[in-house]
């Protein structure tokens, strides 16, 4: 249990974690404001492109091609990066990836590394592993910095501190920074972060990054960002270590013409994010002169083996599904107990953990009303509801015989035969005598989970089928 740090050890199951989050009124307000802001912007910027649906279809097909030929493309990128002076490492799991990065940082003779925001390194718990090995990892993305300085956990893929508002951020910065922000104006807070990190950037010897894309043909790595902290890390240090999930590939340079349109519009809801950096191995005289690429599995091949679930590996980490999800909007990201929250987290985390006996992971596919808003906005057309239901079936199988499975089987038996079903209807309509008011306000467990906040209609005097038989039969 919990050997894969993609889910946080000791996290409660989703319904329990959600209950606590739902009671946090400040969190509710922060999330509501942020998700609605970005939602509306995304709609506007996506509707600008006449070929959005065509781009989505191409994005889906390109990613499917990558997944169907993943071994070939990985060998290809390895050869291309190596030919351009980079070194490629392979990591079976989080522990192995962390060991590689730690060893490389030590070999570079440094005791601190600057980091570009990266989901892959969050997933493997790299910062903690480096810390344990005596190396400080400094997050340079504003939101990651807020989380790190606040001794907090991330709650969003794109904006890890989405659950914090400006005044909370100001408080964290005032507590943790030498040069304190003077107001809670976002501009001033960004300025404070700039002052706080400037020296680090200009003197860092080693940087660690993730990758948005890796081009198999050319060995080019792409990082998409906004603040310039990425450029700082990718340009100024002598050594650059990039940790990339093995599914992050695109076959050719041309394929990026699709993703450099899909990603910015889906994530930050901009026509283009402020900065995109592309580098290929080592360029003499420009940027880091040592480049290491760590290819990370950590459960991805388990997901790849699942014919329905593997589509989750198309994900380009844009977070559009989080921003439109009615569940996420109310519970926030931490309730998911994983670095991957929201709809994509609900299908990705359990597959990376790959153990439906893990109660927390098995609760995630149920954290959805199956409303389908996520599938509608996904730039690579991941049918999230389909995978959720698929994983629920796996969770049911893993649990074996439960009161629920017995009840569901009984219900299935009733529905299998119209006569049995009709008799049950008649028994149910006896409930009328218990609630002559036309509404039922309390039922015994598990019905109480409904009636704690909602009435139930009393069954009518006769079902439709009885009426039909009387009038038309």
């Amino acid at each position: 249990m919990g050997s894969n740090p993609v889910t946080w050890l000791g996290s409660p199951v989703f319904p329990k974690a959600a209950k606590a989050a739902l009671a946090d009124t400040q969190l509710r307000r922060n999330l509501r404001k942020a998700t609605h802001t970005i939602r509306d912007k995304r709609t506007r910027v996506v509707s600008e492109l006449p070929d959005w649906e065509e781009l989505r279809r191409a994005g889906e097909a390109i990613k499917d091609d990558v997944l169907s030929n993943l071994d070939t493309y990985l060998e290809r990128i390895e050869a291309a990066v190596t030919a351009r002076g980079g070194v490629v490492h392979w990591a079976r799991d989080a522990r192995e990836a962390n060991e590689i990065v730690l060893r490389l940082a030590r070999e570079a003779g440094t005791d601190e590394v600057v980091k570009v925001k990266s989901m892959a390194t969050a997933e493997i718990g790299l910062n903690e592993a480096l810390e344990a090995g005596g190396i400080r990892a400094i997050e340079t993305d504003l939101a990651e910095l807020i989380v790190q300085l606040g001794h907090d956990r991330p709650s969003h893929i794109l904006v890890p501190a989405i659950h914090r508002n400006r005044s909370e951020i100001k408080e964290i910065f005032q507590r943790e920074m030498a040069e304190k922000p003077v107001s809670d104006e976002p501009r001033e807070l960004a300025e404070a972060a700039r002052r706080h990190l400037r020296r680090k950037f200009l003197s860092a010897k080693v940087a660690v990054s993730g990758a948005n894309f890796g081009v198999a043909d050319t060995g080019s790595i792409v990082v998409v960002e906004s603040e310039g902290n990425g450029r700082m890390c990718l340009t100024l240090p002598e050594v650059l270590i990039t940790v990339m999930g093995i599914e992050k590939l695109v076959p050719t340079w041309q394929d990026l013409e699709v993703f450099l349109q899909l990603l910015p519009r889906s994530s930050t809801a901009e026509r283009m994010n402020p900065y995109t950096s592309v580098w290929t191995g080592v360029t003499p005289g420009d940027g880091p002169q040592q480049f290491h690429l760590v290819l990370l599995d950590n459960g991805r091949t388990d997901a790849l083996a699942d014919r329905v679930g593997r589509q989750a590996l198309r994900c380009i980490r844009c977070s559009a599904c989080l921003n439109v999800c009615p569940v996420y909007e109310r519970t926030g990201g931490q309730a998911y107990g994983s670095v991957y929250p929201g709809p994509i987290g609900a299908i990705l985390s359990p597959q990376l953990v790959n153990d439906m006996h893990d109660k927390q992971a098995a609760s995630l596919p149920y954290a959805s009303s199956l409303c389908g808003a996520c599938y509608e906005v996904c730039p690579v057309r991941i049918n999230i509801p389909e995978v959720l239901v698929h994983l629920r079936a796996e969770a049911v199988e893993a649990k074996g015989r439960t009161p629920e499975s017995v009840g569901m089987a009984a219900l299935g038996w009733l529905f299998a035969d119209a006569r049995r079903y009709e008799n049950a209807q008649k028994v149910g309509s006896l409930a009328r005598h218990l609630a002559p008011s036309g509404r039922i306000s309390s039922l015994p467990w598990p019905g109480s989970k409904w009636t704690s906040t909602r009435d139930v209609p009393t069954p009518p005097a006769e079902s439709f089928r009885t009426w039909w038989r009387r009038n038309r039969g």
């Binding site: 192995e96 508002n165 700039r194 450029r231 340009t235 290929t280 191995g281 360029t283």
Partner: protein
Amino acid sequence: MADARSVVLGRIRRALADRPAAAAIPRSYDVTRPLGDLVELAAERIADYRAEVHQVASADVPAKIASLLAARGARRMVGPVDLPSSWQVDGAEWLIDSPSLTIDQLDAADGVLTGCAVAIAETGTIVLDGGEAQGRRALTLVPDYHLCVARADQIVGIVPEALARLEPTRPLTFISGPSATSDIELDRVEGVHGPRTLHVIIAT
């Protein structure tokens, strides 16, 4: 004990036992789009990101550079080794990156002047590839002010047209406005670690 590489590749091959047939990629999306006057659109979209845009005739570029620097009071300007001499206007000291400037020299400068490789009108993006009049990446990153000159013939309409013009193995930087963040309440503010001010001169 097998090495990680062969273990991971072996897992992939087992996972793909069904070898899903790769369908042809449907590339029915636009590779170009009629967008009208690309210079006008580029100017509008670059400005949309809070960058300042100036359209001038090619012959007037040096004068425009001089007036922009004077207006900012920018006196110590960084430039790549092949910065056109006509752009190195009087009134500023020119720190040319040969021999290589130190990071502290870059940090102490008032700004940097470069050309670009490509500009994308629809998205308001300029792309640097370390080629003509651009220099290495650090030059356009550390100084707080970036003045960039784009020729009208370097402007393309949409993203696919830009990628077709670029050599992927060069170090590339796509720049859309000054540095920015949406990390606070998902509302965009300009000016973080990268240059806080971006001026673009479009030479027609």
